[in-house]
Symmetry: C2
Subunit: 356 residues, 2 copies
DNA sequence: GAAAGATGTGAAATCGATTACACATAAGGA
DNA sequence: TCCTTATGTGTAATCGATTTCACATCTTTC
């Protein structure tokens, strides 16, 4: 069904049908005829043809590194909230942690009818920079700093520093309690190519430790992917290599979940078989292994089932909201002044469990 | 930059440029000229124009109910794997658990240039049926049975039944151990509008219990959303209303995570304050509350941090793979015979923690 | 009653690509 | 030599919508 056929059936010109659809001058009489024909045929105008002509899709493309992530879903929730309020729809493209695919999908969106793109950033390669510099459609980057596009990012350095301080304090407390200054801090981080998480967050963490007179020893640091699985393996290696770890700080809560699993698996071997029956030994282990885990991201799932670990809450939803607003300002009002926005954080320490 | 401008710059016709891009007859000499101009200008052909003409986008749209879900991400991983191998790309639209939005996004995809649509189904309303019946582009439904489109779904009834049997057996064992047949089974399910999870899975569960001579009492059943939060609240209510619950079976692992949290919160109040220090009381509670939780979906995150609960593994990735294959068969080979495919399951019981 | 303005209408151009077609030219086979 | 066949090339039609433009008609307003 095309607009021409509808026009023919209704005995009018295709222009009239188009006007009917878009609210131009059409007489009541013809309106009725057209309405009837459209109703009968179930005609739906082709969006591609309209967009080709009007250059307006009321669509925003969002490129995300992965789909199964609480933090990312919080960002997209924020984006979606703003977009739908302002009459836009959101399309997602997931790269599955493959920065190569990222460019592919960015280009896909650029040449498909979307009015703007939001990139939830991980690594910003030269390929990314080139794209950002001469993209045909406006782009906003969320989660990473870049000078090549409007961006919204989090205070990863500050968050890392706060966590570093907390961890150092915790360790000192433990030293005091046991009366001996044994026990070290391990860190499971991510690739340095990720400036926000791999560099700022980690640097901040080190600086926080340093301000308390502590240090991260090279042997106690591992670099992993953004997955629970790789966190698990790294933590297990650490535990097997070094017996004096008291705290494992992880770059994300997801990695921290893997570390928790590793501690449970590793410690079990040192727990008397009779301590608790199978599958219910976790708390015993956590109590007696004496190894603490910290993360970043304030994952609600993790908090619920473990009671929570020290972590950092970032305003992910807010960054989505601001990112979408920024983008729409560029799209609709042609806002030209480049903007970079840094959002704060909130340190979260495990609380007494309370009814909520 | 349009193809016309490129043609002008290279001193050829736009047809020649188009042939250059699509591998038609072009002399070496002109090829070189065109190549140079494209290189210099960074020209990228408009996908929308091409698709308008060719009716081929090499794109598949996937409509998902939410983005932050392990099961859904497994499905999309399967889809993506097949698509990229066969030269297609995947676009996602998340409805955020709003079936109303589902139709909107389905229609968006229908009129947007995608070659096919995969719907990860929740509820199939009459609106859905109507769409499926007269969609312009082929659609495959994953996760729900429907006669209005090719579909791939899981044996939810069988899985529910298996879980029902397991739970009944577990309860009997507990009765034997304690010597008294006190203790009941609670079930936290989802809306009956979701035929797979809300009806088949629950019916199967009841049938499994029945086959062991047990019954789900109406007061011990709650209906919630597909979220941890609503699972938490429902479980807390159950625990407060009924003191004799021994097992809480949940329709999904996510809901089960909420139930676990509820047990921890609820039981703490009955645990002597000194039993364990703050935040590390979990295992004590899990051991002594004597309340077990079961789920469906084999969530890896939950397994990692809790050691695992009885659950059911569905072949989510497989369903994504098969779904994408089905869709591409229709798109490329015009496969007409309607297909419905039922995938099996595997009951998962918590294992001894082992290194992996 | 004439000018100005609002309301209606369809033909045709347009968006940016692909491709059928007509027409060259060169090479190979009889 | 003549007839196929393969290789190149540009013009123009096409995809399905929107929108400009020219031209009607019908109200106002002075």
């Amino acid at each position: 069904m095309t607009i021409k056929e509808i026009a023919q059936l209704a005995g009018v010109s295709s222009a009239a049908v188009s006007r009917y659809l878009n609210g131009g001058y059409v007489s009541e009489e013809k309106k009725e005829q057209i309405r009837k024909v459209i109703e009968e045929t179930g005609y739906q105008p082709s969006a591609q043809a309209r967009i080709l002509r009007t250059k307006k899709a009321c669509l925003v493309g969002v490129v995300v590194p992965k789909i199964n992530s609480e933090s990312i879903s919080r960002v997209t929730a924020g984006i979606e909230q703003v977009l739908s309020r302002r009459g836009y729809q959101m399309l997602l493209a997931s790269t599955d942690n493959d920065p190569g695919k990222e460019i592919t999908y960015l280009k896909l969106f650029e040449n498909y009818p979307v009015d703007g793109i939001i990139l939830i950033g991980t690594v910003i390669t030269t390929g990314h920079k080139k794209f950002l510099k001469d993209s045909k459609v406006p782009v906003v980057v969320v989660g990473q700093y870049t000078k090549y596009a409007n961006c919204i990012y989090h205070d990863d350095y500050g968050a890392g520093k706060a966590m570093g301080r907390l961890v150092a304090a915790e360790l000192k407390k433990a030293w005091k309690e046991t009366g001996e200054s044994r026990g070290k801090i391990a860190y499971i981080g991510v690739t340095k190519e990720d400036k926000a998480v791999g560099v700022s967050r980690e640097d901040g963490f080190r600086s926080g430790l340093k301000s308390e007179g502590m240090l991260l020893e090279p042997d106690y640091v591992k670099t992993v992917e953004f997955t629970m699985d790789s966190g698990y393996h790294a933590a297990l290696e650490l535990l097997e290599q070094k017996q004096d770890i008291r705290i494992i700080s992880c770059a994300t809560d997801t990695i921290a979940a893997g570390a928790i699993e590793a501690i449970l698996v590793y410690s079990r071997q040192n727990v008397p078989r009779s301590a608790a029956d199978s599958g219910t030994r976790m708390q015993y282990v956590l109590n007696h292994s004496g190894i603490r885990v910290t993360g970043f991201g304030d994952n609600q799932f993790l908090k619920a089932v473990t009671g929570g670990i020290p972590t950092v809450h970032f305003g992910y939803k807010t960054s989505g909201i601001r990112g979408a607003e920024l983008l729409l300002d560029v799209i609709e009002r042609g806002e030209k002044i480049p903007i970079e926005m840094k959002l704060g954080f909130r340190l979260e320490e495990p609380q007494e469990r309370e009814k909520r």
